[in-house]
Symmetry: C2
Subunit: 226 residues, 2 copies
């Protein structure tokens, strides 16, 4: 598999995948780059270019087979298997993660939940027993688990990441509001709602007065384009 595909492209593939799944569910057989682009919020050229990194999946004059494209994306993204995951941190954030059903639905199986707080260890949590984080390296290693979710306070995020990397973890979904440093062969994806909000407020007028805007009626509704 070639390994110089832009990371931005890789981040868009799951979005295409999501759109296609929805289309398949609605019984759509064939989709044009135009339609897929609209559904994914990008341009048609971008869809075609992104897919062309991996092969020629379309039919000229016709478009792409929804089923074929789904199966190609599954293959490319390694989604035609389930993945074991460990979760570190059984605080409120970690608990929310265990209760988020979409991960399981998409084949990401949380195999262990770890914490170091004795009050949390051995408590049950959505069908999982919280284990002592000291058991973590051995279990990850023995079970060959390569994906971890970090949901600990920022002050311990780095040491947890270090331990995960030593144990063989290669992919980390990081909910801790901290940047973690990992070797080149480990990937980290950060999720920080506060940081997201703070980017959004940049674009807002700082002190627009209340009541300045009125409830718009159907007639002056802006046409959606973006």
């Amino acid at each position: 598999m070639q390994r110089d595909i832009p990371e931005v492209v890789i981040k868009r593939l799951p979005i295409y995948y999501r759109s296609l799944q929805q289309m398949a569910q609605m019984g759509k057989d064939v989709v044009s780059s135009q339609e897929l682009a609209k559904s994914a919020g990008v341009t048609a050229t971008q869809v075609r270019r992104d897919l062309s990194y991996f092969g020629e999946f379309g039919k000229q004059g016709k478009g792409y087979s929804v089923e074929l494209l789904l199966s190609e994306l599954r293959r490319i993204l390694n989604l035609d298997r389930d993945w074991d995951v460990v979760l570190v941190g059984a605080g409120s954030l970690g608990r929310a993660v265990t209760r988020y059903p979409r991960l399981e639905q998409h084949g990401f199986r949380i195999r262990h939940v770890y914490d170091h707080n004795p009050n949390r260890i051995n408590t049950r949590l959505n069908g999982l027993v919280v284990e002592d984080v000291s058991l973590m390296p051995e279990q990850i290693s023995r079970e060959g688990i390569r994906i971890a979710i970090i949901a600990v306070p920022p002050s311990s995020a780095q040491e947890v990441a270090d331990e995960l990397v030593r144990s063989g973890i290669k992919a980390i979904l990081n909910y801790a509001p901290a940047t973690i440093q990992v070797p080149d062969d480990v990937r980290v994806y950060d999720i920080d709602p506060v940081a997201a909000m703070q980017s959004l407020t940049y674009y807002l007028e700082p002190y627009e007065s209340r009541r300045k805007r009125k409830l718009s009626s159907a007639s002056d509704r802006i046409d959606i384009t973006s």
Copy 2:
């Protein structure tokens, strides 16, 4: 305020802000672009370039005053005020959002939680009463709220977004696993853990056998650089 600053830059500013807050807490007075870069996981040149879009905040030969930079970033990102937010969707995802304390800690105040399910309306949820979504437009408009969090199923995400936009919302944090279309003057930031996971699995070997790796000892630990 100039308005042609790359969006990537805006997304990095909250990360710098987060790093600086941590440094301030540790009593650090002055920071170099080098140090800030390390803490934020970017390059020193990038830090300097990013900041230079907004002014000259550093002292040559010295670095940046942590306090000054924090206050400049607060000003740039409009964080020297609190922001009212509405949350749409009181399902498990919406409930998790209300229980996530960091938003409040950073000045994002959830003022209303809406749902359309009668079983949820009027239930209490972390100090908030779930209201009927039909009250939403009028309340958003009257209270001048400009930020919304969408936590509804993907099938209703677009109609909720349309209604939010009509009511005057200008910034949306979208937890629904769906792309939503909004006018140019509205910003959307998507959070989709499943999509994030699916990008991560791209980089994993699909079928590395179990037990292939061993628990590494301290001596063969890879040096962290990334």
